[in-house]
């Protein structure tokens, strides 16, 4: 399968960060979503971490590492002025209760209805168990759910598919998909292609995307 050169992971994260408004509470998942935090420094955005922290600081290094202070991906992080800690039930009350404005997650697959799969890779051969973590609670309570991922899998096969072949995390929850090649909005009619990587055509994007894409009237190149 043809594979296109697109945005590096850090720049996908930058594009996601532009979609996050000031005064938002945001939860970032593992992978590309974690990188979004690098672009939010200095912005009036508060990061919520499932482990029980509001105002999660940047990744800690060297002497700044504290073994009692990690994010939900087990990475050492920094405390900042105004950081708050709380227990897990309170943390998930924020998440499930719809108090988080924007949730950004990675995924194995997303389909045209806004269903997505992220928790179980069948090829791992573990008889139907995987790591759910907070993904399903986050999806259940999300006001706006963004997926940030590579457009295709390592073998070039589409990750934006007609029907999920991996077990779903949640259904009809995804609002926008940010990949190395495109920005796509999930609308009731299907998937609306809004932005494409400079130099690529709609046909190029369609060739690595399973469902038929709708094209926005104001389609433009991804602007950073």
């Amino acid at each position: 399968m043809k594979k296109f050169e697109g945005l590096p992971r850090e720049i996908i994260a930058l594009r996601v960060s532009q979609e996050i408004e000031d005064n938002s509470y945001v939860n970032l998942g593992i992978g590309i979503p974690t990188l979004v935090s690098n672009w939010l420094e200095g912005r009036d955005v508060i990061l919520q971490s499932e482990i029980g922290m509001l105002k999660t600081g940047s990744l800690a290094e060297g002497n700044d590492i504290d073994q009692d202070l990690i994010n939900a991906s087990c990475q050492p992080v920094r405390e900042v002025q105004g950081t708050v800690y709380f227990d897990i039930c309170e943390s998930f009350a924020m998440i499930r209760g719809g108090h988080v404005d924007v949730t950004v997650m990675g995924a194995f697959q997303v389909n045209q209805s806004g269903d997505f799969a992220s928790w179980l890779n069948p090829s791992r051969g573990l008889s139907g168990v995987g790591n759910i973590g907070g993904s399903m609670d986050l999806a259940a309570g999300a006001k706006r759910l963004f997926i940030a991922m590579e457009h295709t899998a390592n073998d070039g096969s589409p990750k934006i598919v007609r029907d999920l072949t991996y077990p779903a995390t949640a259904k009809k929850k995804v609002n926008q998909i940010f990949t190395d090649l495109a920005v796509i909005e999930v609308i009731p009619e299907g998937l609306l292609l809004k932005e494409i990587y400079p130099g690529l055509s709609v046909e190029d994007i369609q060739s690595v995307t399973e469902p038929r894409l709708l094209v926005a009237r104001d389609l433009k190149e991804i602007e950073l």
């Binding site: 897990i88 168990v129 973590g133 907070g134 995390t169």
Partner: protein
């Protein structure tokens, strides 16, 4: 009231084969590692370890000891497997799960937190939305096929919800930064995580504390877990470890 115990034997007394034991901690943060070491040494078997988010991945040497001794029957967790499939495939825990020698039962993290909270709060069950539209809505998620139980669901305000029951462990092992003899506890930074709710949930909660202070030394407004939820308090040294090695 004085709930302090003098050593790990006294702390873990009454734990027998077949017990369900909640383990506090979230990956490496706030895991009661000295109590876990003592549990491995005690050698009790056929245990169900009720976790929240991967404390056994954060306490690798203790997990390895449990596996060497063949102590674990079942693990309940939301994130019980190594993130890396390669690393996981090489580890005896995942190999035992794959072979069906250890049962792994998985829940969404917030649902699992709520199952412990319900147990502590005397709420037998409630309808929760996480997992709707996924396999979680159909059966319990476990690697042991015959243990997959059909779930009950109900549509409430247009949202499919899943009936989840309280999860009441026999014992909880929790880790706190400070505690007093009456069992009032304070946690440090993100090491609080599941420790508080598990202390509420269990029939017998055993707290290891890095700092044992006198009654009245904790600021009354700042106690995280009131002592009524805690049965035993053990003073332990602070152990340091490299979280970046995980």
């Amino acid at each position: 009231m004085d709930k302090t115990v003098k050593d790990v034997e006294a702390a873990l007394s009454g734990i027998e084969d077949g017990a369900t034991i909640a383990i506090g901690g979230f990956f490496a943060a706030g895991v009661p590692r000295l109590l876990l070491r003592a549990l491995a040494e005690k050698g009790v078997k056929n245990l169900t370890l009720a976790c929240g988010s991967g404390p056994l991945l954060g306490a690798r040497s203790e997990l390895d000891a449990f596996l060497r001794n063949g102590q674990i029957r079942k693990v309940i967790d939301s994130y019980g497997l190594f993130r890396s499939a390669t690393k996981g495939g090489q580890h005896p825990f995942e190999q035992k799960v794959r072979a069906g020698k250890i049962e792994l039962e998985v829940y969404p993290m917030g649902t699992l937190a709520e199952k412990y909270r319900m147990a502590g709060a005397g709420v037998p069950a409630s309808f929760l939305p996480a997992g709707a539209g996924s396999m979680v809505e159909e059966t319990t998620i476990t690697n042991i096929e015959e243990n997959r139980k059909k779930r009950e669901t109900r549509v409430i305000d247009g949202q499919t919800c899943i009936l989840e029951y309280a999860l009441k462990p026999d014992f909880a092992l929790v880790h706190a930064y400070s505690g007093d003899p009456e069992g009032n506890l304070c946690y440090r930074k993100t090491a609080r995580n599941f420790n508080h709710v598990m202390a509420m949930a269990a029939r017998v909660t055993i707290a290891e504390v890095e700092n044992l202070v006198t009654s009245g030394d904790l600021k009354p407004e700042s106690v995280h877990t009131p002592g009524i939820f805690v049965k035993r308090v053990l003073k332990v040294p602070r152990i340091t470890f490299d979280i970046t090695a995980l």
